[in-house]
C-alpha cells in the first residue's frame, strides 16, 4: 500500500486508452469520487469492464455521459439508454458477457488461470467465434481471462494497510476485481486504524491494494 491519494492525484495515474475494472452493480458499490475525478480530468478512450454501465448521472454512467469510453465489457447496459444510443451511433463498442461468466473471467485473470470452462452461453450468440471443449462427457465453452490496467474499487472500510471490507450488496464485483487490476485503487467510505477490521472480516487483503483514496471531506 502506497498511501492515500486525493481523487485528482488518483485520476492522474490513469492515462488515455487505459482499461479499467470498475466495481459496483447499478452503481451500488462504485467508487463515485474517483469516477468524478476522471470525468473532471477528461481522460478519453477508456475501456470499462464492469457488471453494467449504471444509469446517467451515477457511477459508470458519468463516464459514459462524458464521452470518455471507447469500449465496454459488461453483462447489462439496459438501464443506461446513453450507452445503447452511443453504441448504435458507433461512438463506443460493447461486448456483452453473461454475468456469471464475466465475474469468473475476471477471477481467472486475477488468480492466474488460463480461462473458464462454462456451459453458460452454449448454443447462443455468446458462443459465436469461441472454442469449445469436450470434458467429462460434456461440452464446455472456453472463455478467456480478463485483466486490466486498473481496478477501481468501492469499499466500506479500509485500514491503514489497505485491508478492505464491504457492506451488503455493495460488495458484488469489487473483491474479485481487486485481483485483476495491474494497479488497484480503492475508495473506502471510511479509513479506520489497523485492527478495527478483524482478520476474519477482511474481504480484500491489503496486499492487493496499491492506493487508497483519502477520506471524503
Amino acid at each position: 500500500m502506497k498511501g492515500a491519494l486525493k481523487p485528482e492525484a488518483a485520476a492522474e495515474l490513469i492515462g488515455e486508452g487505459a482499461s479499467l475494472l470498475v466495481g459496483g452493480f447499478m452503481a451500488v458499490g462504485s467508487p463515485e469520487r474517483l469516477i468524478d475525478a476522471i470525468v473532471a480530468r477528461g481522460t478519453k478512450n477508456l475501456t470499462i469492464i464492469a457488471n453494467d454501465t449504471a444509469m446517467p448521472g451515477r457511477g459508470i454512467g458519468k463516464l459514459i455521459s462524458a464521452g470518455l469510453v471507447r469500449h465496454v465489457i459488461a453483462s447489462h447496459i439496459g438501464l443506461n439508454p446513453e450507452t445503447q444510443a452511443k453504441m448504435i451511433a458507433g461512438e463506443l463498442t460493447c461486448e456483452l458477457v453473461p454475468q456469471g461468466t464475466l465475474v469468473e473471467r475476471i477471477r481467472a485473470g486475477g488468480v492466474g488461470l488460463g480461462g473458464v470452462l462454462t456451459q453458460t452461453g452454449l448454443g447462443t450468440e455468446v458462443e459465436q467465434g469461441k472454442p469449445t471443449i469436450e470434458l467429462g462427457g460434456k461440452r464446455w465453452l472456453i472463455e478467456a481471462p480478463i485483466t486490466a490496467d486498473f481496478a477501481l474499487l468501492g469499499a466500506w472500510q479500509a485500514d491503514y494497510v489497505g485491508n478492505l471490507n464491504y457492506m451488503l450488496t455493495a460488495q458484488n464485483f469489487n473483491p474479485i476485481m481487486a485481483l485483476a487490476g495491474q494497479t488497484v485503487i480503492a475508495e473506502p467510505e471510511s479509513i479506520v486504524p489497523v485492527g478495527v477490521i478483524a482478520p476474519d472480516a477482511v474481504r480484500t487483503p491489503g496486499v492487493l491494494v496499491d492506493h487508497l483514496l483519502i477520506r471524503a471531506s
Binding site: F25, M26, A27, V28, G29, N51, D52, M55, A74, S75, H76, I77, G78, L79, Q84, M87, L96, P98, Q99, G100, T101, V103, E104, R107, T118, Q119, T120, G121, L122, G123, T124, E125, V126, W156, Y166, M167, L168, T169, A170, Q171, N172, F173, N174, P175, I176, R203
Partner: protein
C-alpha cells in the same frame, strides 16, 4: 385479479419449503408477495444477497442493500451477503433450486428467448443465461401474448437465452409444461376455455382430455 397477479399467485404454488429461489425483475418479482414466510424460502438476488426481504419503510432505505434491479430492499433474519463469484457459483453450481424469469418468447422445444430484440432492444443478458443454464428448475412467468402476438411460438425468432428446456411456463391464460414431445397444456386460468388458449397460442399445444383450472391460492403455508 389482474393478469400479473394471476401469474404470480400460480407460480407461488410451485415454490417448495426451505428452498433457494431467484426471482427475475418485473413480473417474476411479484411472486414473493404470495409466498408465506412460514415456507422458510430464501430468495436470492444475484447482485449479492441470500434472504432478500420486502421494501424498507419510506425514508429508511440503505443504499448498500438493493436487488438486482437496483431497487431498495431489506434482508430477512438469516440473510447472507455474498460477492458476485459466490452468487453465480450458487447459480451455475446447481445450488439454486428454482429461478423464475420473464420471457419474450418460448418455443416448442422449451427454449426461452428473453435478452435481446435485434435492432430494437439490446439490454444485455445480465444473469439470465447463467440462471437458465444452472438453476435446478426454470419457470417462465409471462403474459401469454404481447401486442396481440403470441409469445409461445413454434420456434424462437429472437436470440435464445440457453439451449436448456425450461421446466414450466405460467401465463395469465395457462400453465404449460415443455416436454420431449412438445408443449403440454396442464392448466387453464379460471374462466378460460381450452379453445381460447389454443387460439391465443401460435405454437402447437398437446391438449389432454382433462385440463383443470389453476389454483390461485398462492404458496402453501
Amino acid at each position: 385479479m389482474d393478469a400479473k397477479e394471476r401469474v404470480a399467485r400460480r407460480v407461488a404454488r410451485e415454490i417448495k419449503p426451505g428452498t433457494l429461489v431467484n426471482l427475475g425483475i418485473g413480473l417474476p418479482s411479484l411472486v414473493a408477495n404470495y409466498v408465506p414466510a412460514s415456507l422458510g424460502v430464501f430468495f436470492q438476488a444475484e447482485n449479492g444477497v441470500i434472504g432478500l426481504g420486502a421494501r424498507p419503510p419510506e425514508g429508511m432505505e440503505d443504499r448498500h442493500l438493493t436487488d438486482a434491479g437496483g431497487g431498495f430492499v431489506t434482508a430477512v433474519p438469516g440473510a447472507a451477503a455474498i460477492d458476485s463469484a459466490m452468487s453465480f457459483g450458487l447459480i451455475r453450481g446447481g445450488h439454486l433450486d428454482m429461478t423464475v424469469l420473464g420471457g419474450l418468447q418460448v418455443d416448442e422445444r422449451g427454449h426461452l428467448a428473453n435478452w435481446k430484440v435485434p435492432g430494437k432492444m439490446v439490454p444485455g443478458m445480465g444473469g439470465a443465461m447463467d440462471l437458465v443454464t444452472g438453476a435446478a428448475r426454470v419457470i417462465v412467468a409471462m403474459q401469454h401474448a404481447a401486442k396481440g402476438q403470441s409469445k409461445i411460438v413454434p420456434r424462437c425468432t429472437l436470440p435464445v437465452t440457453a439451449l436448456r428446456r425450461v421446466d414450466l411456463i405460467v401465463t395469465d391464460l395457462a400453465v404449460i409444461e415443455p416436454s420431449e414431445d412438445g408443449l403440454l397444456l396442464k392448466e387453464r386460468a379460471p374462466g378460460v376455455t381450452i379453445a381460447e388458449i389454443v387460439d391465443a397460442t401460435e405454437a402447437i399445444l398437446i391438449v389432454p382430455d382433462s385440463v383443470p383450472e389453476m389454483d390461485l391460492a398462492g404458496g402453501k403455508p
